[in-house]
């Protein structure tokens, strides 16, 4: 009679021991360091576009879009802590009379709206046709665009570009825009097809045209405004950067024109930066070097050049765009273990870049998405390279690689990148349109606060 209770106990103990051997996989799965956001079914190539904005309560709001030419809707996700909701907080946005743009710019606040807000495309709202913004309170707004083209009568006006887009005519990269990283930012915008750039002063909804460089007009540069950036200088002025990366004329290819906007919103042409073909395909303004002014990061196909904002602001750059402007430093593509593909695909390196303090040390790292990289032999699986700036050597070295453990061919991880501030560090978000996914990397190989998570063993 004493054996009967012992036998079930033995079996139960055995079952418990056995179950431990497989339940540990469930434990691993419960809190992985990489979290995937659920993709709405109506967004094609979910993760092709990303933007984030901080939330007042902490964390941030991520807006995710798909292929702008085939998928208008977007979805927003609230990333408040290390255990985020993977379901979208809101979705839709660019609805009737709206065309998604290639870029999404985040605005923290817009007058009469509860932020954060994002510029998501063009359209018409409240009788205004121009740039369409969407705020987290569910309201939309529109920013008027210039109605004339004083630089070239032969070119369409920005308004005509918007109208053409709304009419269904394809203008690749029809509107580019960027904002400064401040609560009331300065917005710069450009219409490459019109070779026109303009800006919106802080708190203003009125566009102010920027003078198109004579060289652009003279050399028939057809991609002026392919990318724009807004740097906040230490004195409160702003430097606007407008690029023409791929002109057919070798004399004018790879140019970035600078405009200084002072506190009175007076614009001054601030010279020109030059580089190789593709220079300025992507630009980003942010605190990279570490002083009080934002720095300018200009990407071409092979590298990312870092220009010290303070240096740029100290004097007017040459107007004749010298052959090669010396940057503060140059970041090149570096291959890492299991990750390859540098230089194989033209114009790939630097297409998606952002700055973020992944290790919480107070200094931002350069985050470069390589959506075409091969990972573990899987072609186009994609990865994200993280570079840490070194002020001494005026360069940046590869410090970490963000990738997923089980890559698949064509996932395109890193086609878009952004960061969300959670706690003492930024969390990397990388789009993987090939897998219709956005991944949040909670644990950084850089260490420090980058591993301040229960997801990091």
């Amino acid at each position: 009679m004493h054996r009967r209770p012992a036998l079930p106990t033995l079996f139960a103990l055995g079952a418990l021991v056995c179950s431990c051997s497989w339940s540990r996989f469930d434990d691993l799965r419960d809190d992985p360091p990489v979290v995937r956001l659920d993709a709405p079914v109506d967004i094609d190539r979910f993760g092709a576009r990303l933007a984030s904005a901080p939330l007042d309560k902490g964390g941030g709001l991520i807006l995710v879009g798909g292929n702008p030419e085939t998928s208008l809707p977007l979805a927003s996700y609230v990333i408040a802590d290390d255990r985020p909701s993977t379901s979208p907080e809101d979705r839709g946005f660019c609805g009737e009379a709206c065309v998604s743009g290639r870029t999404i710019s985040a605005w923290r606040t817009v007058a009469d709206h509860q932020g954060p807000c994002f510029l998501i495309g063009v359209g018409t709202r409240s009788g205004v046709t121009g740039l369409i913004g969407r705020c987290s309170d569910g309201t939309d707004f529109a920013l008027d665009v210039p109605h004339d083209n004083t630089q070239s009568q032969a070119e369409p006006t920005p308004r005509e570009v918007v109208d053409a887009a709304l009419a269904g005519h394809a203008y690749p990269g029809f509107i580019q825009h960027a904002v400064s990283a401040e609560p009331t930012p300065v917005l710069a915008a450009a219409a490459p097809s019109a070779r026109v750039a303009w800006f919106y002063a802080a708190g203003s909804l009125t566009p102010v045209s920027l003078p198109t460089p004579a060289a652009v007009l003279a050399d028939d540069v057809d991609d002026f405004g392919a990318a724009v950036a807004v740097m906040l200088l230490s004195n409160g002025d702003h430097l606007l950067a407008v690029s023409a990366p791929g002109s057919a004329d070798p004399a004018t290819t790879g140019r970035v024109w600078l405009y200084r906007v002072d506190s009175a919103d007076q614009v001054t042409s601030w010279g020109c930066l030059s580089g190789s073909f593709g220079f300025g395909a992507t630009m980003l303004a942010g605190a990279a070097v570490g002083d009080a002014s934002d720095d300018l990061l200009v990407a071409d196909a092979q590298s990312v050049s870092v220009f010290d904002g303070s240096v740029l602001a100290s004097h007017v750059q040459p107007q004749d765009c010298p052959e090669a402007t010396t940057p503060w430093g140059v970041v090149s593509c570096q291959q890492a273990e299991g990750v390859s593909g540098c230089g194989r695909a033209p114009f790939s390196f630097g297409r998606a870049i952002t700055l973020g303090d992944l290790d919480g040390d107070g200094a931002a790292e350069l985050i470069v998405g390589m959506g075409e990289a091969d990972v573990d032999g899987e072609g186009g699986a994609g990865a994200v390279l993280v570079y840490r700036f070194d002020g001494t050597s005026r360069s940046a070295g590869l410090a970490a690689v963000a990738r997923i453990a089980a890559p698949s061919p064509g996932q395109g991880l890193g086609s878009s990148v952004t960061t969300v501030r959670i706690g003492r560090r930024d969390v990397l978000a990388a789009g993987s349109p090939g897998a219709d996914s956005v991944f949040l990397f909670y644990c950084s190989a850089l260490g420090g606060a980058g591993r301040d998570s229960f997801r990091c063993p």
């Binding site: 055995g14 056995c18 179950s19 051997s21 497989w22 540990r24 996989f25 469930d26 691993l28 799965r29 419960d30 992985p32 360091p33 990489v34 979290v35 995937r36 963000a402 990738r403 997923i404 453990a405 089980a406 991944f439 990397f441 909670y442 644990c443 950084s444 190989a445 591993r451 990091c456 063993p457």
Partner: protein, 548 residues
């Protein structure tokens, strides 16, 4: 004094008067029964008296009665003579012929054949004479009438019967007849002219002799001296002689006794013994004077030797006590076809029920191991008794079948191997996932989760089933469904006394190590396989045993 009388050598020649007769049974070695012989003797004497009174018919009847009492040929002869006297030639002729048939080597065989011829001629002549009357019809003819002239010349004396005996018997004997009255006495070691050997043989000797002087010689044989005597044979008597033969020396009397009854006693025959034993204890007998040595032996006992000296007429009694031999014998049988026996770590031989294995071992405790193919081996400690034989019956039980246990063990091992493989794969995947987690690249969408779980579950299943099978296998290996083998020890027995054998076949020294003595199943010759049929209640099989 009786012993003295036996020791003294003497020849006693007694002449017993009797009617002459010859015993017809020549091969009789024993003297005739005294009652019948007395009866025959009385009829012989009566017939002789009647013959002397010429009352031939009554005499013939007396001789016939004597023959009826003792079928000696001499009675036939005497009866034939009486009938010849009566003229009953046919009857006489028949009796003479019967006489020759009964004793064809009779000393007077030739004379008798001649007599038969004469009688036959006389009968033939009578048949040619017309006046010849039938004797039977004319009544008894007068003896003086000599109705048959041819027969008148035939001897008419009665034959005598001579019986020569000796102690001991089988002594060579010869009878010589004095042919002339002037012949000198018979002398040994001389030609003895005038003396004719009429018969010879060995005692007891019975012969038919005519009247005359005879000399009987019993030649020396064995260790007995030559003996001889003269004899006068009268007509119609039975002469019986008995010679107590004298040996060559004076003897003493020896009696050997032993608590070990039946022990063999060898007298003055040291090992290796070349003669049969003098006797078995207790035994007594005459021995010559002087120094002697005896060896007393019995299987299972240490042989004992004694030297002693006896004098003339001494009566010596020896008590010889044998000590048990320091070794004993195991007689091992068993219930298997071929049982291999190992004693004290040494292989001894094979045994079975039909061919017990006999092993001589030093007395004391020995380790005995009995094993057989397909049966449980038994180990036992056996106490070998001194000088005795201990029957050991090896009851080897069939081994419990282990096929299922082996199958379970193999399956368990295979599953254990599978479990280890799957477990290692699971662990490798888990380690990979952990590594990816540490590297910060692990997502919740990874097919390795499922794969690792499948491997883990498979490993656990394999381990579980393997454990169950291992437990079952262990149980099936351990459990015994058949009883254990055993050695049944019988009651110790005395060793059978060895038959008288040539000494060379006997062991010369006591055994110091086990040795197989007698036949046992021979192990297979090197290189020669042997098929052993094994029949068990549930099945039967054949095993091939091959010894190198």
């Amino acid at each position: 004094m009786k012993l003295i009388g036996q020791i003294l050598c003497a020849i006693l020649l007694g002449a017993l008067t009797a009617t002459v007769g010859v015993r017809a049974v020549a091969d009789s070695g024993s003297p005739p029964p005294s009652a019948s012989l007395d009866s025959a003797r009385r009829q012989m004497e009566r017939g002789q008296d009647l013959y002397a009174q010429q009352r031939y018919a009554e005499a013939a009847d007396a001789f016939a009665a004597a023959y009826a009492a003792e079928p000696y040929a001499a009675f036939l002869y005497n009866e034939a003579v009486c009938h010849q006297k009566l003229g009953n030639l046919d009857r006489a002729l028949a009796l003479f012929r019967k006489y020759l048939a009964a004793d064809p080597n009779a000393p007077d065989a030739e004379q008798t054949r001649a007599r038969i011829a004469r009688i036959e001629a006389s009968i033939a002549a009578s048949a040619q004479r017309p006046d010849a009357a039938e004797p039977s019809e004319a009544g008894p003819p007068d003896a003086s009438a000599d109705a048959a002239p041819a027969v008148v010349d035939d001897p008419v004396d009665m034959k005598s019967l001579v019986i020569i005996e000796s102690d001991p018997t089988n002594a060579p004997v010869s009878v010589f007849r004095k042919t002339s009255p002037s012949t000198g006495p018979f002398s040994a070691n001389s030609p003895n002219p005038g003396w004719v050997r009429v018969t010879s043989g060995s005692t007891p000797l019975t012969t038919t002799l005519d009247i005359g002087s005879y000399h009987i010689v019993i030649d020396a044989f064995a260790d007995y001296h030559r003996s001889e005597a003269d004899m006068e044979v009268a007509a119609g008597h039975i002469h019986q002689f008995k010679a107590i033969l004298r040996q060559g020396e004076f003897l003493a009397f020896l009696r050997v006794t032993s608590p070990q009854s039946g022990a063999r006693i060898y007298l003055d025959d040291p090992p290796p013994h070349r003669r049969p034993p003098w006797g078995t204890a207790p035994h007594e007998g005459l021995v010559g004077v002087g120094q002697h040595r005896i060896w007393v032996e019995r299987s299972g006992f240490e042989p004992v030797s004694r030297t002693f000296t006896v004098t003339h007429g001494e009566q010596r009694e020896l008590l010889v006590e044998l000590q048990r031999a320091p070794s004993g014998m195991l007689v091992i049988t068993g219930n298997a076809a071929a049982i291999e026996i190992e004693i004290d770590g040494r292989r001894i031989g094979m045994a079975n029920a039909d061919n017990p294995l006999q092993i001589e071992l030093p007395a004391g405790s020995h380790d005995v191991v009995a094993s057989a193919s397909g049966r449980k081996t038994v180990h036992a400690r056996v106490d070998v008794p001194k000088g005795r034989m201990l029957p050991v019956d090896a009851m080897l039980m069939l081994r419990t079948p282990r096929g299922a246990a082996w199958t379970q063990a193999v399956l368990s091992a295979a599953l254990l191997g599978g479990g280890l493989f799957l477990g290692s794969r699971s662990n490798a995947i888990y380690d990979d996932l952990q590594e990816d987690r540490r590297a910060g690249r692990l997502t919740d969408e990874d097919d390795r989760y499922g794969k690792g779980k499948v491997y883990a579950i498979g490993a656990d299943l394999c381990f579980g089933v393997s454990g169950l099978l291992a437990a079952l296998s262990t149980w099936n290996f351990v459990k015994e469904t058949t009883p254990s083998s055993s050695l049944a020890l019988g009651a110790p027995r005395d060793l059978p006394d060895a038959p008288t054998s040539r000494p060379a076949e006997r062991p010369q020294s006591r055994p110091t190590a086990p040795s197989a003595r007698e036949s046992s199943p021979q192990p297979p010759t090197s290189g020669m396989p042997r098929l052993l049929p094994i029949v068990v209640p549930a099945s039967a099989r054949v095993t091939i045993e091959w010894r190198f």
